[in-house]
Amino acid sequence: MTEETLPGPDGTFALPPLAWALDALAPAIDAETMSLHWGAHHRAYVDKLNAALAARPSLQGKSLEALLARAGTLHADVRTNAGQHWNHAFFWESMAPPGRGGAPDGALLAAIERDFGSPGGLVEAFDAAGAAHFGSGWAWLVRAGNGRLVVGTTPDEQSPLMEGAALSGTPLLVNDLWEHAYYLGYRNRRADYLAAWWQVVNWKAVGARFAAAQAA
């Protein structure tokens, strides 16, 4: 999602369609989880964001990314829902049905080997960060300002695009650490979810994001 996310002609943000069916990520992510996660949780964030913006004319018409860049100035109801809308849209685009996401290659693979030793090293660092994160939040792979790849987490609705976030850089990949992302399929076993999730990572999207970030 390197492009800007703009509101529609009526000034409201829309729940983006998924690129695959609700059951397409099974067994890594079951269909009911997808149905609720996209159709209830993400939808509620979009609806609440639109309601919050309707009360604040000065923020209307701005892109989602422009809102995140000034997160420190935003009222909590705009900040939390803008963050969750962006993060979930990016999360859906980070995934593809098992066997369809490809594998890291080219410049992305070279950067992964430089910064983590191997794709396995990246997976290990990413899962360790996700398992250690306390409470709700997100696990990220970002391209830092110095060009290095970095793994880290953010709490609740935070994204690396927000000023003052716990992690900064250009997002390349994200996993959702909120319990709603895995409780139906994995119960309390977040580590099992993190490990299984790599089956549905969309490496083609990650590679395109990395190329765009390098060119920027």
Binding site: A44, G135, S136, G137, W178, E179, H180, N188, A191
Partner: protein, 248 residues
């Protein structure tokens, strides 16, 4: 009105605990696997009722996981944190919480997690058996929130508005008034990281982490918060209120 808005955990212990339960506890879930938890000063006490006692408000599987996996992990990780820092061994859990800003983050997360869940289990009882607020507690609720239904609505709102994981609380403030607050993650009103105006003695708390309600209520946190009143143990809350008053 004062609404603030804004280890093997030793197998031996388990064996001792089991007879008190309607069902024997499951073995520890191993989301974090790896090393066994150290034998430490803190223990997972048995539930005061069976896993299915709170149904249909809270289902048996949720109780089994919530107590036997989530709460157990907080106890195990708290014992690990204490084992790693001998200076902590001299402190009670409440002493740790009162100075938690000076202690390692795992003490805040897991010390809070242990205190909050141990407290939470005592606040609930089988539907229809929890009684009513005592006359003195009811008078304080009416004084500070208008009425019992108004209090319930405000408490539910606090639970709904806590973004992400956390807790909704009813506390007795140092001046004796009641207040509704909420905290993120496993923070609680006994911690020095909480703003002074939201500190006090908890007499009621509800867990709004998704693990508390997701199996039965899915994303509908508001419905969980409404149904939860059916299992609140008002007899216990009234006792906690009296104790907090007499300590002032």
């Amino acid at each position: 009105m004062r609404t603030l808005r804004p280890a093997l955990l030793p197998a031996l212990l388990l064996a001792l605990a089991a007879p008190a339960l309607a069902q024997a506890p499951e073995p520890a879930a191993t989301g974090t696997a790896a090393a066994p938890a150290p034998v430490g000063p803190f223990a997972l006490d048995p539930l005061p009722y069976g896993f299915d006692a709170l149904a249909p408000v809270i289902d048996a599987e949720t109780m089994r996981l919530h107590w036997g996996a989530h709460h157990r992990a907080y106890v195990d990780n708290l014992n690990r944190a204490v084992a790693a820092d001998p200076a902590l061994a001299k402190l009670s859990l409440e002493q740790m919480l009162a100075r938690v800003s000076t202690l390692p983050k795992p003490v805040r997360d897991n010390g809070g997690g242990h205190w909050n869940h141990r407290f939470f289990w005592t606040l609930m009882t089988a539907p229809g058996t929890g009684g009513q607020p005592s006359p003195r507690l009811l008078a304080a609720i009416a004084r500070d929130f208008g009425s019992l239904p108004a209090f319930r609505r405000q408490f539910e709102q606090a639970g709904l508005r806590q973004f992400g994981s956390g807790w909704a609380w009813l506390i007795v403030r140092p001046d004796g008034r009641l207040a509704i607050t909420s905290t993120p993650n496993q923070d609680n009103p006994l911690m020095d990281v909480v703003p002074e105006a939201e500190r006090g003695t908890p007499i009621l708390g509800n867990d709004v982490w998704e693990h508390a309600y997701y199996l039965s209520y899915r994303n509908r946190r508001g419905e969980y918060l409404q149904k939860w009143w059916e299992v609140v143990n008002w007899n216990q809350v009234s006792l906690l209120f009296e104790a907090a008053q007499s300590r002032r």
